[in-house]
Amino acid sequence: MPAAPFTSEELAAIRADFPILTRTVRDGKPLVYLDSGATSQKPRAVLDAERDFYEHHNAAPHRGAHALAEEATEAYEDARADIAGFIGAGAGEVVFTKNATESINLAAYAFSNADHGSPLRIGEGDEVLITEMEHHANLVPWQELCRRTGATLRWIPVTDEGRLDLTDLGSLLTDRTKVLAFTHASNVLGTVNPARELADAARAVGAISVLDACQSVPHLPVDVTDLGVDLLAFSGHKMLGPTGIGVLWGRADLLEQLPPFLTGGSMIETVRMEGSTYAAPPQRFEAGVPMTAQAIGLGAAVRYLQGLGMDRVHAHETALTGQLLAGLADRPWVRVIGPTTTENRGGAVAFDVDGVHAHDVGQILDDSGVEVRVGHHCAWPLHRRLGVTASTRASLAAYNTPGEIDAFLAALDRVPQVFEVAS
């Protein structure tokens, strides 16, 4: 039996866990938060976990032997274990970063920091393959890697429907390809890509696969073993966790080979003025006093999500996405950018209103208390490919309700009125 969306009682209970959802904006309008793709709201359990740490156990983890340092280290490592469990990984495979952007940069710098002669080191003649639908975070670091090393950046194109065009994959993914980096779910289109298929194709040519899981880990059950990728990045703040914490997961044997990126305290084995040696993963990649409270907060967030059940979170968001897509389909002056059904699709829904700029659409929605994102959503090349400068995006999370989708659609109907365009 497939998992069911949340009932309205369940939803009311969930919403009661998020203090911000009761506030109003713009002169008393109830907040309708449809910008979880940018950052999610936080349940009380996460805020309490952070506060409890600061008020009772705060010390620098892995740096002392006293009672508080012991407690802080244990809380920090317990969080790592819980987060690893959430994605089907071993604790030693989870590296804490400040956000997914740092995670991907850590991966990208590895290919230029590796010693000449290391199989990881890339250079002229080598290729990095990405896609045309990437967020800048999974695009610019690879451009910069190519600039540093002389390697060549190539990309998988996107169809008019907003799916990857895999027709020429055979000529794009070759034995020159050292890295294939792609997004699991697009933050603009909602498209969920065939991660396993692409990871297997990468492995077949000896390329390392890097998955941007920012928009999947918060919204669907994700198991790193099932996905078959080599490295995977996501951010805490998009999955009910605090700001300032991200994760890079890596296959244990690959992490073992990656050179350090940020260097400094607690990632070392020995240090002499003449040179240093480095600790095993994950410590090797966690230089400096870490994001302790934030890791602990993210641990509470994954436990909260596990309590909801990721299959139900997914079912719930899929139902809302269906409702949203149906409402937009009823409005001929709206063009959805990306797949128009919920098949292999997440809850980010970008669209264009004929004759009205996204900034103006967003402003009208905001005036009704409906908070969506406008612009290129850090995916500028994708917008160019689909022929729009900017788009408006509604994006969902577990706490959104069918009533909020209705409120969004009603607010949207004000747009053609204000701007005197056909509707």
């Binding site: 009208i364 612009g375 500028w380 400068t389 701007f419």
Partner: protein
């Protein structure tokens, strides 16, 4: 909502003096990195007088209307007069609602007063004005280090 005055919708739908015309002394291209809005703008000077401002604006109603109002307010005026308008517009737009604007000085620009209360939109309204300052600089109309200009240019990237 008071942001979208009828006057703004008017200017956005039928922008005054739009399009790129020759001759010109300088052409600049400015972009708003958060939304991808763009403006290409040309100035044509006759000594101290602004003979023509022509532009191609790809953006929201606020940025298009602001460019239209700019062209209307400065064409045919002296550099010194244009500076007065620019400074008044800049002051109003960045005042967070403290400076209501003086219609005598900024004309239709007064319709943009509501923008000041939406910090994320101030950039939209300033885009054309910053391009204009930059174009004047490139046309050699003033010493490069003049202060009102360089402060505007910084904001371009914010």
């Amino acid at each position: 909502m008071d942001l979208y005055q009828e006057l703004i919708i008017e200017h956005a739908k039928r922008p005054h003096r739009a399009g790129l015309r020759a001759p010109f002394d300088a052409e600049v291209h400015h972009v708003n990195p958060t939304c991808g809005d763009e403006v290409t703008l040309r100035v044509d000077l006759d000594g101290d007088t602004i003979r023509d401002v022509s532009y191609d604006s790809l953006g929201c109603s606020i940025s298009v209307a602001s460019a239209s109002i700019l062209a209307e307010q400065v064409t045919g005026h002296t550099l010194a007069e244009a500076d007065v308008v620019h400074d008044a517009m800049h002051a109003m737009l960045t005042s967070r609602g403290q400076d209501a604007g003086d219609e005598e000085v900024i004309g239709d620009g007064i319709a943009l007063a509501g923008v000041a209360r939406y910090p994320a939109r101030v950039k939209c309204a300033l885009l054309g004005w910053m391009a204009f300052q930059d174009a004047l600089n490139q046309a050699g109309a003033r010493p490069a280090a003049e202060s009102s200009t360089s402060s505007s240019l910084k904001e371009q990237h914010v």
